[in-house]
Amino acid sequence: MKFHKAAVPACAAFILAASCGTDTADAPPIFPYAHEIHDFENGLRLVVVHSGYPNIVSLYVVVNVGSRNEVEPGRSGFAHLFEHMMFRGTEKNPPDAWQAVMEAAGASTNAYTSDDRTVYHATFSKEDLERILELEADRFQNLKYSEEAFKTETRAVLSEYNKNFSNPFRKLDEGIRDAVFTTHTYKHTTMGFIEDVENMPTMYDYGLQFFGRYYRPEYTTIIVAGDVDFDAARAMIEKHWGQWERGGYRADIPVEPPQSESKRVELDFQAPTLPLLAVSFLGPAYDDESIDSAVMDVISFHFFGESSDLYKKLVIEEQKVDAVMPSYPDHRDPYPFSVIARIKDEADIDYVEGQILETFKRVRNTPIPADELDAVKSHLRYQFSLAMDSTEAIAETLAHYLSLRRTPQTINKRYSLYASVTPDDIQAAARKYFVDSARTISVLTHRTDKKGNSDD
């Protein structure tokens, strides 16, 4: 029996309304949580969200600095290194004092850096909110560490690079970026070029400069999500973060020129691995006004996702490929739209490449049937709703979007764009971005034979 897509209640209720031809203006927004936004005079923005889940609060401090800002030669990876330094304390709260407060709160804390942002987060019981806001305000304003502590931390960062080294997808990511970008800072990964990582111990002075440039209120958005009172949260932030001084630095991020001829990269992985193949085109930056980047997401799910004809052919029917997946994460500037396949046998690399290129041709030339387009829109909306299963998950999702547009409304605008995508939009975007001369193909294999010997 063929299970028909119509068996799914296609327009059952609120969540699908926007994708069923109803007036999208009346559809309830995809981000349904009550929230307030407050802009402080120093440029800091606060977003308070009622998640509906009891007792727990998530605090996310989103700084709009990432590896994208690393414009100076030799400084790649610095935003990430600096994220580590933020745990090195202040005069008032040295690392062990910071740790003691977080421990007493039973908090789960961490931080991460990406191309576009650095995010510091903690999830804990609501009664500890003010103490933790005070503590965090101190390190964002008064961070102080010795040169010795700086050097020590650079080695932890090198170890982090090394731990990632055994993952071939990391190597592929490095290869794609290096090939696609000639000018823009997305050329390097968030970890940075290895030679820069190895040179980090000498950059103490630059660290001080970096803090002065970017750890400023106008670069920062604070998310307080969970079981929290709007006015109380605002007053706490005012008290502890209100005196933070505005900065004035702006990095001049270079613009990537259009790619004029196709490229091909061969990458050698040091350990045995299945070959990886990536076909990439530079896609548009994230946007919630013009439709192109939303269209590209629809394309990625429909033509290259797990329910795509390509996946079914290569993975399920022919079984030549272990996995095929699209990759097009939201970015502030244009970023590669890639289709990546993990191929079981090196002999099939050319065949799989041909199938992927054939699919790109189909995106350009064959309109998508209306019911299949509806299925993608439905998928996108349910996927979003299903992911909002805790206060932490809601805050985490917001951190992503706020680093792109600084307001939760961008989520609703973006999902309205998804709802409005037509088959014509898809073909138009495909013809604009999937141009042969702008294509980059990367192939990663294990070339050398390195055998050990056994006496086990």
């Binding site: 407050h38 509906g52 961490n110 700086f150 045995p272």
Partner: protein, 508 residues
């Protein structure tokens, strides 16, 4: 000027994840339906966790990996009526799916759907688990995937998990826990579809089954599910006898030789304490103080990473915790009758490999000899008392913990641990540490490029001297000398190339 922008709540956002009363319907009599564990709530999301009390420990000799491949066939293959293609198409608009997780004693199928899609979703899930298609093309694909997991993804692409999984292999030897959950390369290669069907018939039985449901499902839904699952054969599979795992004499070192930039270390030994054991809360507290997962507060992290900058993190465990490099909190439904104590040292530069190993053992030895300082005891109690709330943040994790409680015979993990912490003393923790932990007789797995050099260093009892980017304070340098000379009492050292790991079942 401040600018307030208000956005008002919408009707459907008003739900709260109600901390629901848990109602367990035990089988009324022999032949009755499967056990249900219900956490009704008002969320529009409905979670199902379907747990069979059978897993890799039930794999027959030579058929290692059967439990995992069976679960993969159900969650990643077609039903009799629907091909896997059809299932993917049907799930896609709902953004839903069925995941499977197989451990030694448990197999869990989990999924969450929006209430609007419950009927369509559940009908597919029902077919997948109760009326499987057993198609050859699905089997070939999933077998290939299992082989690639062992050969490529684990051996080649995830050194940290490789070391941790190999440690379990070496500790358990020919014990029923002594093979990787996915099996060995040879056993999976030899697996047939008949082997998988046999596993299903023997173990997917009503007496092994607990069905967990959470969220805003309709009132008659539990009965409907229960009735459907009555199609499974009655009774339970026979419980696998577990011998007491052997504790090695001295240090038993296993070096995996692999072309890598780093040296990675995992070490451990079996413990008799599992969740529900009277000493578990005390040992849990000691573990949290000593090596709380992914937390900078713990002793190991402080001494190895924070002060010495040697790596990315260092942690300790008293329960199986796979995929720790991707997770901040452990997954549920990995309950076991036997556990190990484990230390995980994340990659260090090869020059610091021996020193990192010595530091971990020196610190463990110190913990056993001196116990937990009183102030750290109090701080850890305070931490755990609140931290446990984060473990059950999502509907799915709350349901998973409740299912584990049923396995271990606990009332409610969250309440139980808080209650236990109230009466706990530092003395009791230190007594448990002395009784259950040691730093001498254990297995050590080291992954490194130059295995022979590592062996020589270990054999000759070399002093270890750390390499620093910046010299630490004098008291640390003084301690370095003590740690550098810390004597390792080594019983045996074996070297294995990475490509031989998980190849076949072998004894220690």
């Amino acid at each position: 000027m401040t600018d307030w922008k208000r956005s008002r709540p919408f009707a459907h956002a008003a739900f709260r994840a109600v901390a629901a009363a848990i109602l367990v319907w035990a089988p009324a009599a022999h032949g009755a339906g499967p056990e249900l564990l219900l956490q009704p709530g008002e969320s529009p999301l409905i979670t199902l966790r379907i747990v069979f009390r059978a897993g890799a420990a039930s794999d027959l000799a030579g058929k290692e990996g059967a439990a995992a491949l069976t679960a993969a066939m159900l969650s990643g293959g077609g039903s009799r009526q629907m091909s896997y293609d059809d299932i993917i198409d049907a799930f896609f608009p709902m953004a839903a799916g069925v995941s499977a997780q197989v451990d030694k004693e448990m197999t869990v199928f989990a999924g969450t759907t929006h209430a609007e899609n419950l009927d369509a979703y559940y009908e597919i899930l029902r077919q997948m688990l109760l009326d499987p298609g057993w198609r050859k093309d699905d089997f070939d694909r999933l077998k290939d995937k299992a082989l690639n997991y062992l050969r490529v993804r684990l051996r080649g692409n995830n050194e940290e998990e490789l070391g941790k999984e190999y440690l379990y292999l070496k500790i358990y030897g020919d014990h029923p826990y002594g093979h990787q959950n996915s099996g060995t390369v040879r056993s999976v290669e030899a697996m047939t579809i008949e082997n998988v069907k046999t596993f299903y018939e023997a173990n997917y039985r009503r007496g092994n089954l607990t069905i967990g449901l959470a969220g805003g499902y309709p009132a008659d839904f539990p009965q409907r599910v229960r009735k459907d699952f009555e199609i499974l054969e009655d009774g339970a599979s026979e419980e696998i006898a577990l011998p007491k795992p052997e504790t090695p004499d001295k240090l038993r070192v296993h070096i995996i030789e692999k072309d890598t930039r780093s040296t990675l270390i995992s070490l451990g030994f079996p413990i008799e304490v599992t969740r529900g054991h009277p000493d578990w809360p005390a040992l849990k507290l000691a573990q949290s103080y000593f090596g709380q997962h992914r937390s900078s507060k713990s002793r190991l992290y402080q001494r190895i990473r924070e002060i010495r900058g040697m790596n990315y993190g260092d942690y300790a465990y008293i329960e199986y915790f796979p995929r720790g490099m991707f997770l901040m909190q452990p997954e549920s439904n990995l309950a076991r009758r036997q556990q190990i104590f484990q230390i995980w040292i994340r990659p260090v530069v090869p020059e610091n490999g021996l020193f990192a190993l010595k530091t971990a053992l020196y610190e463990l030895d110190k913990l056993v000899r001196e116990g937990i300082p009183e102030k750290d005891f109090a701080a850890t109690v305070e931490f755990l008392r609140k931290y446990v709330n984060l473990l059950t943040q999502t509907q799915s994790s709350a349901l998973g913990y409740a299912l584990d409680d049923a396995y271990y015979g606990l009332p409610d993990f969250n309440g139980w641990i808080k209650q236990q912490l109230i009466g706990l003393t530092a003395d009791a923790v230190n007594r448990a540490v002395t009784k259950h932990l040691w730093a001498t007789d254990l297995d050590v797995v080291i992954i490194t490029k130059d295995a022979q050099a590592m062996r020589r260093m270990l054999q000759t009892g070399a002093r270890a001297k750390p390499m620093y980017a910046s010299p630490p304070p004098d008291d640390i340098l003084a301690e370095d000398k003590v740690i550098g000379g810390y004597k390792l009492d080594i019983g045996s050292i074996a070297i294995v190339p990475a490509e031989m790991v998980f190849e076949a079942v072998r004894s220690r």
